[in-house]
């Protein structure tokens, strides 16, 4: 299983000679692997074979929406016509700008928003952008100094807290009610003149729709705050409910979740932002606009500026455009239907308790007496990727499970069999898992104690 590091295959020190630059502007040399193309290809081919992707089997990481990534979108993104420089005069990049404009338009419709920016290069970057827009809005209203708090439910994604903090806000954590949703009393208590915004995921991380969303919106709006929609779980609602219609003022989309662009081992994603009327002037610059003939780049009047050095993760956005174009209304609506059907069918098929329902595209089962992280390791021996573990904390030993619409009934049954097999295993077997993988159990705690982060450090 073990593949030597590049540096273990070769390490060559090269010292430049006869350079055009004088010696005092050049370094002494660099020491790096020097491999032939055949060796290089085998190295990465073998590494790929030590990695699990969606094309290998189910990947039900809750809140991550690991759905099938259509291959044809890569062909479009790989076309030479897409490989252009960001500083072209807009006249020379009309094709790319049209794609931007169409995608802005698609997302506006899907989210029920009035304007969209595609600039944020990831979901968290979208959150930061959205919060900066809320901040600009309050500053515009002369309330920038007072409104210094962002409300976040306890079960929210960690990025919500971190993004709000990066924007300079204090965080007020909201508890859930017994049903797993926002506690309206607690919200009423927390909200006030210091409230800049409430950040909410809907359905929430338990897969539950926030039924009181209208009342929540009223409470926040009445207090002068804005409502922010975390788009991580939008896949559950495609074509059935729109954040804009629920009263959200700002939202982000995770195109790598909802719109099938590949996760790429951790990125790149893209986190476009939608805003309701009245907030467009704060959007990042530039916005793509059109008079119907020509596409132009426009700086919104009170733009927050920029959150990415140019236009965001263009190739990712292009793939999202292709996916939405392929699906259309029918395909998008079918997506949420099958995503929710799959989650419900899978939950029904497994032997674990699912404390909160009715859930939509994902559910949080409890591993019960078993440590959820151990449970996950034992699932690896059953040939599938396990769910997200130990989160949200409202469920003991949480197994947060999102199969997505792209799994077949057969595949869900395979997944259920993996859950159930582990449920039946004894504690020792689970503690020793995994046994069938390229690497056995890895102790992450010890690794962090004396970090070794490069082959240089490894050979020290």
């Amino acid at each position: 299983g073990h593949e030597p590091l590049l540096s273990e295959k070769d390490s060559t020190r090269h010292e430049p000679e006869d350079t055009y630059l004088p010696d005092d502007l050049t370094r002494d040399g660099i020491e790096l692997p020097s491999l032939s193309e055949p060796e290089l290809v085998r190295h990465y081919t073998r590494l790929s074979q030590m990695n699990y992707g969606i094309d290998d089997g189910p990947y039900p990481l809750g809140s991550c929406t690991m759905k099938y990534n259509p291959k044809f979108t890569e062909d479009i993104a790989g076309s030479t016509a897409a490989a252009i420089h960001p500083d072209r005069d807009p006249e020379l990049s009309q094709g790319a700008l049209q794609v931007y404009h169409e995608l802005q338009d698609y997302l506006s419709r899907i989210g029920g928003m009035d304007a969209v920016t595609l600039q944020p290069p990831a979901g968290a970057a979208g959150e930061l952008t959205g919060i900066l827009i809320a901040k600009a809005y309050h500053e515009h209203n002369g309330e920038g100094d007072e409104r210094e708090e962002i409300l976040v439910p306890a079960s929210a994604h960690g990025t919500n807290f971190a993004s709000a903090a990066m924007a300079g806000y204090d965080i007020v954590e909201l508890p859930a009610d017994d049903d797993g949703r926002v506690d309206l009393d607690a919200l009423t208590e927390a909200v006030g003149e210091t409230t800049a915004a409430l950040m909410l995921t809907n359905p929430n991380t338990l897969g539950l729709f926030e039924r009181d969303i209208e009342e929540i919106a009223d409470i926040v709006h009445d207090a002068g705050g804005l409502l922010y929609y975390d788009g991580a779980n939008l896949n559950a609602l495609l074509g059935r409910a729109r954040p804009g219609d629920m009263g959200f003022d700002v939202m982000h989309f995770n195109v790598h979740k909802t719109f099938a662009t590949p996760h790429g081992g951790g990125g790149p994603g893209a986190g476009p932002i939608g805003v309701r009327e009245g907030l467009e002037q704060f959007l990042p610059t530039p916005q793509v606009r059109t008079d119907g003939d020509e596409y132009t780049l426009v700086e919104p009047d009170e733009s927050i500026g920029k959150v990415h050095g140019s236009m965001g993760n263009w190739l990712v956005l292009l793939k999202a455009h292709a996916y939405i174009s392929r699906l259309g209304d029918d395909g998008l609506t079918d997506t949420s239907a099958k995503a929710v059907l799959n989650a419900n069918y899978l939950a029904e098929r497994i032997d674990l308790e699912v404390p909160f329902e009715p859930f939509h595209h994902e559910f949080v089962a409890s591993a019960g007496e078993t440590d959820a992280a151990d449970f996950a390791k034992a699932m690896l021996d059953n040939g599938v990727h396990p769910p997200t573990t130990k989160w949200p904390e409202i469920v003991d030993e949480a197994l947060m499970t999102e199969p997505t619409e792209a799994e077949s009934k057969r595949s869900l049954e395979q997944l259920a069999a993996a859950f159930n097999a582990v449920s039946d295993e004894d504690a020792d077997t689970i503690a020793d898992a995994p046994q069938t993988t390229a690497a056995k159990r890895i102790d992450q705690t010890t690794a962090a104690r004396d970090p070794t982060l490069s082959w240089q450090q490894l050979s020290e």
């Binding site: 290069p121 998008l332 992450q444």
Partner: protein, 462 residues
């Protein structure tokens, strides 16, 4: 000829989807009608719609007005749309560079085990990508001379933003100023402002001379309040900075961090950031592995060991598994948002891991000699092109008395806007710089077009 039997016909031909089983709905949902019926029966529900616990007032039953298309149709439409990008040869740079990307990069990085995977939360089945990222960190470590490097930031601009907040965290002093050179791209500065706004930092500029740091001016601009000084080499104008050592000396005994902006290719040849005293190195790693992608990139982030626990983003570390074999795993995750939440070092979650894979493949393909040779070529090509342009009446190049990397500014006798526009009509894109200058970038990617370009410049200037 009249046809009785074979009925040639103009009747409409039914639209077929290229994936017939998806007659309605998504081609990416595998369910047939029997599957759905069995699944609904199993969960004791009559209709999928019943599963949606959405109050009526916020239900949406409208249409987006987006009509789905066949794969062939989408490809054709988007290809046509992209064809509206003008077919010009780019001599553009300013932080975004085209280098020839070898075929192995696509071939290997598109292997589905890589591109369809996510963050390595289960290291036992993610050793492949973890090793790739560990090797990427190692490559960056060697090229920057820093002690540690992370897995990636979004791009050069956001990496600079993260460097500034890192400075704020690691320097307990009261300082709140980030000092940047006057040549900093407006776009990068705009991002920096948004990244530092929440921490209450302010950005100040220091003047440069001949496109480089003027050490005296820098010293003048420095005060106790300065958390970090940012300098680039090569600069966005293509100038190779000659005063890095002086900057390092000036900052050596101060609480102020020295942040250097560069890129992985330039770093294979230019002065070692560690040698000149840099504390943090940021920049664009995507000069290797990505073509020009409308500004999509990958942010480079490396720094000295002492800042390790304040580093933003993901880190991969070597470890051992239960058998004692070497393995790799995400590490120091307590810095990150999913654990530390509002006290995380950054909000970054998704990063540019797949681009890091591509960058690592490209860098390894070139190897130490290939990198250095290509970097050397990137100093010769602009010098030669500048000399040729300088002979064109009305053009003076390079505008800076300096060595250049990939690009340089040229002064134009006349209206730069008109020259740029005229060149575009003739198939070449260059930057306009103010009213009387252009900026021109040349690498091995567009080298073959230099003679044509010169010819057009001569005609335009004639």
């Amino acid at each position: 000829m009249t046809m009785e039997r074979a009925h040639p016909t103009r009747e409409p031909i039914p639209q077929i989807d290229d994936l017939a089983q998806a007659e309605s709905g998504s081609p990416f949902t595998p369910h047939d009608a029997d599957d759905v019926a069995e699944m609904l029966a199993a969960i004791d529900v009559d209709d999928v719609e019943e599963l949606f616990d959405i109050p009526d007032p916020v239900r949406y039953d409208g249409s987006f007005g987006i009509e789905g298309e066949s794969e062939q149709g989408v490809r054709r439409r988007l290809e046509r749309t992209l064809d509206a990008n003008a077919d010009v040869t780019e001599f553009l740079g300013r932080g975004h560079y085209a280098h020839y990307v070898p075929s192995v990069v696509d071939s290997l990085s598109l292997r589905s085990e890589f591109i369809t995977s996510y963050t390595q939360y289960q290291p036992e089945i993610s050793q492949g990508f973890l090793q790739v990222l560990f090797e990427f960190q190692s490559l960056v470590t060697e090229l920057t001379g820093m002690d540690v490097a992370n897995c990636s930031m979004y791009d050069a601009a956001t990496a600079l933003g993260e460097a500034a907040t890192l400075a704020d965290r690691v320097r307990a002093a009261d300082g709140s100023t980030i000092l940047v050179p006057d040549y900093l791209r407006a776009e990068r500065r705009a991002v920096l402002e948004n990244y530092t706004d929440g921490a209450g930092l302010s950005i100040c500029e220091f003047p440069t001379e001949n496109g480089m740091v003027d050490p005296d001016a820098l010293e003048t601009a420095l005060d106790e309040d300065v958390l970090l000084v940012y300098v680039e080499t090569p600069t966005t104008d293509g100038v190779i900075e000659e005063h890095l050592g002086a900057v390092g000396s000036i900052l050596e005994d101060r609480e102020t961090l020295f942040c250097l902006g560069s890129d992985l290719l330039a770093l294979s040849l230019l002065e070692n950031p560690a040698t000149v005293g840099a504390d943090v190195v940021v920049g664009n790693a995507g000069v290797l592995g990505l073509p020009n992608a409308f500004g999509m990139g990958i942010g480079l982030f490396a720094c000295r060991e002492e800042f390790l626990r304040q580093v933003p983003g993901r880190l991969v570390g070597a470890s051992e598994d239960a058998d004692g074999d070497r393995t790799y795993t995400l590490t120091l995750q307590t810095r990150e948002q999913h654990i530390r939440r509002e006290r995380a070092t950054s909000n970054i979650c998704s990063n540019q891991a797949w681009v890091a894979l591509r960058t690592a493949i490209h860098a390894t393909y070139l190897g130490p000699e290939g990198l250095t040779d290509l970097a050397d070529r990137c100093t010769r090509l602009p010098a030669r092109l500048a000399a040729e342009l300088d002979e064109v009446p009305g053009v003076s190049a390079p505008a800076n008395d300096a060595y250049h990397f990939r690009e340089f500014t040229a002064e134009i006798d006349g209206d730069a806007e008109a020259v740029v526009s005229e060149l575009a009509d003739r198939g070449f894109a260059v930057h306009q710089r103010g009213e009387d200058a252009i900026q021109v970038c040349v690498t091995e990617a567009n080298e073959a077009h230099v003679d044509d370009f010169l010819e057009q410049v001569r005609e335009v200037m004639a």
